[in-house]
């Protein structure tokens, strides 16, 4: 019906997010005949890219909306800090260096940038924000790609890649419900991670993973990743790990995106559903701590926790997408949250008794610490005393998974017999090659853009 199976495509791109689009555009600009297979319907196209908001970019001097400079070594140090060294230095430095050329390329291909958003000023030097966010970027790239003659098929779920003797032969795809075989001369894999496959997550993490919320697209089910691994492709990244942050527990199961974040932990007492505290809420400023709270909450009974704040702190953090639960007494709040009122009262009383006088400074480490409390709260420890009291539930929100395909600096994929001759990978499906642990804001888009462009250029050169 679609006629896509009647053509021998030069380059087939699996996945229509940022990484795949960059590859498709690069390949199409050389004159190659390019097909994008996007598993989502058009309204949900773009994978996790539609939820992103910025691009971390090296720059020797002011560049577009970026101020000052952000050199290779500083960028690399930031990466080492979050990954604790779990990276490939050669690939990482290449990615960082190339990011500087990518920003003008992005602008030339339709992406508009804006200055750092309010509440994100800490990133104004290092990260260029997309005007309108990632979906606007995705729209711009689709328009550019279509203008270059790229064909796009939506609702196109690739089920199997045929690889023979290290060479891509064709693929099986379900197009609008119809199993179809499509042939191509080169393949770019840009189909993301597996975080939306809850069974896989549960296999890797344990049954608790079924209580996780998935912050991004429900279409990243890792079907192509698993198919490639089953065929002996080299993998990289810890298969049991995912990146999870603590988000509003009432968020949608999938696709809640940015608005589900909660920034109130540093100003709260956080308890589990037994009403007990379990970690220092004031360890560091929130942008440096939100990532560990995903794991912390995941380790609690039923993978849930509750932030308790009082009226003093209600305006110290970004507005939440859902209003907090609210009550005039702690017991009333506990009842609304579904936890024991007397237990919460005991925990808060013990916390309040351990608070010390001092000056509260919400935007910096103020050293306002508890004494004699386990675990302590080492900053912003103010007694919870002024009603009405407010509460939010927290759950782990999965952003991405680390397991992926191992690539080299030309985005080539490897198998048992060495390099695969006409298969390249970009985006989340290979990001584990560089990001072995943790996360650096805006770096996923950098990896996708850098390797997307390389993959597109390499694939086009292969078929030229």
């Amino acid at each position: 019906m679609t006629g896509l199976d009647k053509t021998l495509w030069d380059v087939i791109v699996v996945g229509g997010g940022n990484a795949g689009l960059c590859a498709a555009i690069e390949a199409a600009e050389t004159g190659a005949k390019v097909l994008i297979l996007e598993s989502a319907p058009k309204t949900y196209r773009g994978g996790n890219s539609r939820h992103t908001r910025n691009f971390r970019c090296m720059h020797d001097g002011p560049l577009s909306v970026l101020t000052g400079s952000y050199g290779e070594d500083e960028y690399f140090d930031d990466l080492i800090r979050v990954t604790k060294g779990k990276t490939d230095e050669g690939l990482a430095r290449m990615t960082i260096r190339t990011s500087q050329d990518c920003l003008p390329w992005m602008e030339a291909h339709g992406v508009a940038f804006q200055k750092a958003l309010s509440g994100t000023l800490s990133l104004s030097r290092t990260n260029a924000f997309f005007l309108g966010g990632g979906k606007a970027l995705v729209n711009a790239y689709y328009n550019t790609a279509v203008d270059l003659g790229v064909r796009v098929a939506y609702d196109a779920e690739v089920t199997h890649i045929s690889v023979e003797a290290g060479r891509f032969q064709g693929l099986d795809v379900t197009l609008a419900g119809q199993p179809t075989r499509i042939e191509g001369r080169a393949l770019v894999l840009a189909s993301g991670g597996f975080q939306a496959d809850l069974d896989w997550l549960a296999d890797a993490w344990g049954p608790a993973a079924r209580n996780f919320l998935i912050r991004g697209t429900p279409y990243n089910r890792g079907v192509v990743l698993r198919d490639m691994l089953d065929q002996g492709a080299d993998s990289v990244g810890d298969p049991t790990q995912c990146h999870a942050v603590a988000i509003d527990g009432r968020s949608p199961k999938f696709d809640g995106g940015i608005v589900t974040r909660l920034d109130c932990v540093p100003f709260s007492v956080v308890v589990n559903n037994q009403g007990e505290r379990f970690y220092d809420e004031g360890e560091d400023v929130w942008p440096k701590r939100y990532a560990i709270w995903g794991r912390l909450v995941a380790a609690q009974p039923d993978q849930v926790a509750y932030c308790i704040i009082d009226s003093k702190s209600i305006e110290n953090f970004m507005p939440s997408v859902y209003p907090p639960e609210q009550a005039d007494t702690l017991e009333g709040l506990a009842q609304k949250l579904g936890i024991s009122g007397s237990k919460l009262r005991d925990t808060v009383d013990a916390f309040n008794a351990a608070c010390q006088p001092g000056t509260f400074q919400p935007t910096e480490l103020d050293g306002l610490s508890t004494t004699g409390l386990t675990p302590p709260k080492t900053n912003w420890a103010r007694p919870i005393t002024e009603g009405p009291y407010y509460g939010y539930s927290l759950r782990p929100g999965v952003t991405f998974t680390y397991l992926g395909l191992k690539v080299d600096d030309r985005a080539r994929v490897f198998g048992q017999a060495g390099v695969m001759h006409n298969i390249w990978a970009t985006g989340e499906i290979m990001a584990g090659s560089i990001l072995g642990e943790g996360y650096l804001a805006g770096f996923g888009m950098t990896i996708g853009t850098v390797f997307g462009r390389i993959a597109g250029q390499e694939a086009a050169a292969h078929v030229a």
Binding site: H51, F113, F130, G133, G134, N143, I258, R261, P319, V321
Partner: protein, 359 residues
């Protein structure tokens, strides 16, 4: 109705629901003035929503960039939500409210007003024709023209002034200083809020692609209208202050202002109407689509009939064209407080208020 059906939100409640989600996201801060205004608040009173709605120019950039549009359960469509609030607020602020509901929603009603206006003027030029007079004063005396148009101009202005007072009270406006007016006029004159910021255009006739077409067409209408208005005003000054009576020559002030003004107004209105047929009605207030379209046509008709009248100078067509043009202008004036035309006044007020809030 079953008991478990949630009550339908009012336009203001629905806009508030959406704005609160936007305030937790903030990805659209660079498009227009609405989003920075949202980030200045944590809670939104009804008056805040009215202000945000009046500030929104319906550029639609935020809709196409939004990750939460339907079928997402958050179901955001902020341009439509704010458009609905605007429409309701114009009804609420108009006196009397009945005509506002009618002319905002019904293109047919606005067309009816046009027919009545033209018929009235045809009657005037045929029955009340003066004994002597030059140019179009041969068909309608200056005194009668003033007798018709002075009230037809001043009454709508008075109604709009009352409406603006209600608006100002509702949004909690403060004392206006020159700096606020200046900032608002610069934004209005450049149509900064249709520029899309760094996107270099808004999303209207080409879906998620940016374009300057609507901004340029609106600029033509806006400046064309002001030139026409200046032309008429200059004629009034020439008449009363300098005792120079129409008809004026081609290089007179009224013609130098009026001819380019009429051309811009006509072309701009045709452009806006055409663009409107290409845009998605679901991103505005669908109930007023017809009324808006008729209003654009009426604006264009005032320009086109004025040009035709000038072109017909000295021919036998002056009499019918004079009736046609003045009838169109009459219908335009009298419906001004109740048609889409009020958007200009409330938007200006919103820009002034925004300048105050930006401090």
């Amino acid at each position: 109705m079953s008991l478990d059906t949630p009550p339908r939100l009012t336009a203001t409640d629905e806009a508030r629901r959406q704005v609160e989600i936007c305030n937790a996201c903030r990805y659209c801060e660079g498009y227009c003035a609405v989003f920075p205004a949202i980030t200045r608040e944590r809670a939104f009173a009804d008056g805040d929503i009215t202000q945000l709605a009046s500030l929104c120019h319906n550029c639609r950039g935020c809709y196409y960039a939004c990750q939460y549009t339907e079928p997402h359960e958050f179901a955001l469509n902020l341009p439509a939500a704010l458009a609905e609030v605007r429409v309701e607020s114009w009804d609420r602020f108009a006196w009397p409210a009945g005509p506002a509901r009618l002319f905002q929603t019904s293109g047919v009603a606005l067309g009816g007003a046009l027919v009545v206006g033209i018929a009235l003027l045809f009657w005037a030029v045929s029955v009340l024709q003066p004994d002597s007079g030059e140019g179009f004063y041969a068909y309608l005396s200056h005194g009668l023209m003033v007798a018709i148009f002075a009230p037809a101009f001043l009454f709508p202005l008075a109604v709009i002034a009352l409406g603006l007072r209600c608006y100002w009270a509702e949004v909690g406006g403060a004392r206006i200083r020159w700096g606020h007016l200046q900032a608002a006029m610069i934004d209005a004159g450049r149509l900064k809020n249709l520029s899309g910021g760094a996107a270099g255009g808004c999303n209207f006739e080409k879906g998620d692609r940016y374009s300057q077409a609507r901004r340029h067409a609106h600029q033509a209408v806006f400046w064309g209208f002001l030139l026409c208005f200046a032309s008429t005003s200059s004629g009034t000054v020439l008449h009363y202050v300098f005792d120079l009576q129409a008809p004026y020559g081609p290089f007179s002030l009224p013609k130098l202002l009026g001819v380019p003004g009429g051309i811009l107004l006509t072309i701009g209105a045709v452009g806006l109407a055409w663009l409107k047929t290409k845009a998605d009605p679901a991103l505005g207030a669908p109930s007023v689509w017809g009324g808006e379209m008729a209003f654009v046509a009426l604006l264009g008709a005032t320009g086109a009939t004025g040009l035709a009248l000038y072109a017909a100078t000295g021919t036998g067509l002056v009499q019918p064209l004079l009736a046609l043009h003045l009838g169109t202008v009459l219908a335009f004036f009298l419906t001004t407080p109740y048609s889409k035309m009020v958007h200009g006044f409330y938007r200006m007020a919103a820009l002034v208020r925004d300048a105050q809030l930006k401090g």
